[in-house]
Amino acid sequence: MNRQQKPDITQMVSPFLLVFILHASQIGEGILSFERQISKVAGYDSWISVLLTGLATTIIVILIWRIVSDNNDLIDVHSEVFGKVIGKSISFLFGLYFFSVAITVLRSYIEIIQIWLFRDLDVTLFLIILYLLILYIVLGGFRIVVGFAFFSVFITLFLAIFNYAAFSNGYIDNLLPILNSKWINIIKGIEPMTFGFLGIELILIYAPFIHRFKTGLKWAVIGNGLTTIFYLFSTLAMFVYYNIEQLQKITWPALQLWKVIDFPFVERFEFIGISLHFIAIIASSNLYFWAGTQCLHRISNISFKKIAILFSLIGVFSVFYINSFLMIEKLTTFISKFGVYLLFGYIPLLFILRTIVQGGVKNKHG
C-alpha cells in the first residue's frame, strides 16, 4: 500500500493548535449571513439549532478520530476500505471538493467587497493578487498555513466583540418565549447551520501533520466548542437586534449591525470590519486550498508546487464562469448541501465501512 511517509518534522504542529485550525477553517463568509438562513427555518429559537449542530459536529469529530489513526490520512483510509482504484478516485473527488470550497469562499467574499466597498472592482486582477498571496502562504507548508490561521482567529474574536452593540441597542424580549417554534423546525435548522461548521472534514487530510495526533481530540472538541459559542453569541446578538421579518430582508446582518458602531475616531465600523474579516476568509480559503493540494499530491505524486500553481490558475480563471451573484449563491447552496451530506452521511458511513473491513482483516489473521 502507498503508505505516507512521515511528513517533514518542521512542518508539523502541536496538537494544541487544532483549536485554531478548526476554528479558522470553520469561520468564513458564513458568519456574516447564517442568521438569515437558520431563522428562516426555526425563527427565534434557531439558536437552539446552533447548539444542536455544535453537538452533532462534535460527534463527527470524535468519529474522525476513530477513522484516521496515527500517521494515516483519508487517502490511506480510502485505499484500505475501497481498494486502490476506487479509493483514489473518491479521494480525487474530495480534492476537487476542497478546491471548490476554497474558490467559492474567496469569490463570495469578493462579492461582498464589490457590493459594499468598490462597485467597480476588477475581479480578475484582484483574484490574481489574492492567489499570489495564497500560493505564497500555501507553498510555505502546513506550518505557515496554520500560523496564518492562528493569527486570523484573533481577528475574528476581536470582531466578535463588536457585536456588543446589538445588546446595548436591542430588544432582549425578542428571545422570549423560548421554544416557541416546533422541535422539528429546530432540528431542520441544523442543515443550513452545518455550512458554518464545515471545515471539520479537513482533519482527515492534515491529521498526519499533527504531533501526537491521538491526544489532539480534546483540542479539536474545544475548537469546535469555541466555534459553537462564537456562532451562538452572534446568533443571539442578531436576534436581539433584529426581528425575524427584518432578518429575512437583510443579506449580511452582521455588517448592517456594524454600521451603527461609532467611535470618536472612526465611524461606520463595517468598513474596517469587512477589511479585517478578509484575513479570516483568506485563512479559511488557505486551509481548504492546502488540503485540496495535499490530497491530489498524495494520490498522484505530482509535486505539491505544480498542483498548487495549476489550481490557483484555475481559481483565477473561474471568474469567467462564476460571474454573477446568482451563480455564487447557487454554488454556495450546492457546496453547503454537499458538505452536510459529507459530514453527516459519508463520514459515519466511512467509519462503519472501516470497522467492517478492519474486523475482516483481523478475522483473517485470527
Binding site: 466597498l117 506550518r143 505557515i144 496554520v146 493569527f151 472612526v266 474596517i272 469587512i274
Partner: protein
C-alpha cells in the same frame, strides 16, 4: 562564541557550517557575515541580532545563543533571534518590570503606528470617506481644500522629505546633523503647509510616524520599519484602501512566518505559540518568573537557576 553546556550544539554547528561556506574576498564588518549567513537573503528583515553592547551580547550568550565576533568590527551578531527581541531594549532589564513592560508595549505600538499610519491616511482619504467621523470631516476637508495633489502624492512627497532629512542628518557630522534635522523639520514643514503643498493634518501624522520609527532599539530593524511603509502606501492606493492595507499586512505576516533565524522560527513566541517565552516578549515579567531560558534557543540546560551543576566552561570559536 558560545557557552558550552548551554548553547545548543545544532545551532553552533549551523553557524560554523555557514561561516565556513562563505566565499568572499573582503569581510569588513560583522554585518557582511550577517547578511551572508542569514536564512533568507531576500528578506528586508535582519535575521541575526546585531549589537555593540557587551551587556546585550553576554546576556544573549547566557540565554544559549551563539555570538559571532568579527575582527575589527564593534558589532557582534547573535542568533538565533526572534522578531520581538528586536523591540526589546537592554535597558528594560535595568528598570522595574512594570515600567519596562509599559515601555515595550509603547515601542510595539509605535512600530505599528509607524508602518500603518500614513497608508491608512491614504486609504481613508482616497476611498473611505465614510469612516471619517463627522466632526473631523470639516477639519480634514478644509485642510486639504487647496492642495493640488491627491493624497498619495502628498504622502509620498512628505515621506521622502523626511527620509531626505534623516539621510542628510546621518551623513553630516553630529552637530550639524542635529541642526539640519530641526531646521529642516520645522522650516520645510511649515513652509510646505503655508505654500499649500501638504495639509497640516498629514504633516502631524508623518512627523509622528517618523518619530515612532526611531523608537526601535536596534538600528537595523528601524531601517526596515521605515522603508516598509512605502509598499504599504502604494498598496493602499492601488488595492482599494483598507483592503489593500489588509492584503499588505497579510503578505507581511506570511513573510514573517516564513522567516527563520538559524533554522528556528522567527515569529516565535507568537507562532508557534510558546506561552513560556511570552514572559520576555511583549512584557518583561519580574526576574523570579524568568527562571527558564527561552525555548527557541533549545538550550541544553533549560534552567537559569541551578546550583548543582558545575559552572559551564566558556569556549571561544570563530
Amino acid at each position: 562564541m558560545y557557552i558550552e553546556g548551554i548553547a545548543n550544539p545544532d545551532n553552533v554547528q549551523t553557524v560554523i557550517q555557514r561561516i565556513t561556506d562563505i566565499e568572499y574576498d573582503q569581510i569588513m564588518d560583522s554585518s557582511f557575515i550577517g547578511q551572508m549567513i542569514s536564512d533568507n537573503e531576500q528578506s528586508p528583515f535582519p535575521q541575526l541580532m546585531d549589537s555593540e553592547r557587551p551587556d546585550r551580547v553576554s546576556s544573549a550568550l547566557i540565554e544559549g545563543k551563539v555570538a559571532i565576533v568579527c575582527d575589527g568590527s564593534p558589532h557582534v551578531l547573535t542568533g538565533p533571534t526572534t522578531l520581538v527581541e528586536f523591540f526589546a531594549a537592554y535597558e528594560d532589564y535595568f528598570l522595574t518590570w512594570h515600567i519596562a513592560t509599559a515601555f515595550r508595549i509603547i515601542r510595539i505600538f509605535a512600530v505599528m503606528f509607524s508602518v500603518l499610519m500614513t497608508p491608512l491616511y491614504v486609504a481613508v482619504l482616497t476611498y473611505h470617506y465614510h469612516i471619517v467621523p463627522g466632526d473631523l470631516l470639516g477639519t480634514l476637508i478644509s485642510s486639504r481644500k487647496d492642495i493640488p495633489f491627491p493624497p498619495i502624492l502628498e504622502v509620498l512627497i512628505l515621506e521622502l522629505t523626511i527620509e531626505l532629512l534623516r539621510e542628510a542628518g546621518a551623513r553630516l557630522p553630529t552637530k550639524i546633523g542635529q541642526t539640519i534635522g530641526i531646521v529642516g523639520g520645522i522650516v520645510i514643514g511649515t513652509a510646505a503647509v503655508e505654500a499649500g503643498l501638504t495639509s497640516n493634518v498629514l504633516l502631524i501624522l508623518v512627523a509622528l510616524a517618523a518619530l515612532a520609527s526611531f523608537t526601535t532599539p536596534i538600528y537595523r530593524i528601524g531601517n526596515t520599519i521605515r522603508l516598509l511603509r512605502f509598499p504599504f502606501i502604494i498598496l493602499a492606493q492601488m488595492w482599494g484602501g483598507l483592503i489593500g492595507v489588509v492584503i499588505g499586512v497579510m503578505f507581511l505576516v506570511t513573510h514573517l512566518l516564513r522567516l527563520t533565524s538559524l533554522g528556528r522560527p522567527f515569529t516565535e513566541p507568537l507562532f508557534p505559540p510558546r506561552w513560556q517565552d511570552l514572559k520576555d516578549a511583549f512584557v518583561r515579567l519580574p526576574f523570579n518568573l524568568q527562571g527558564k531560558r527561552p525555548i527557541y534557543t533549545s538550550s541544553e540546560d533549560q534552567n537559569r537557576i541551578n546550583l548543582n551543576k558545575t559552572k559551564p566552561k566558556k569556549g571561544k570559536r570563530k
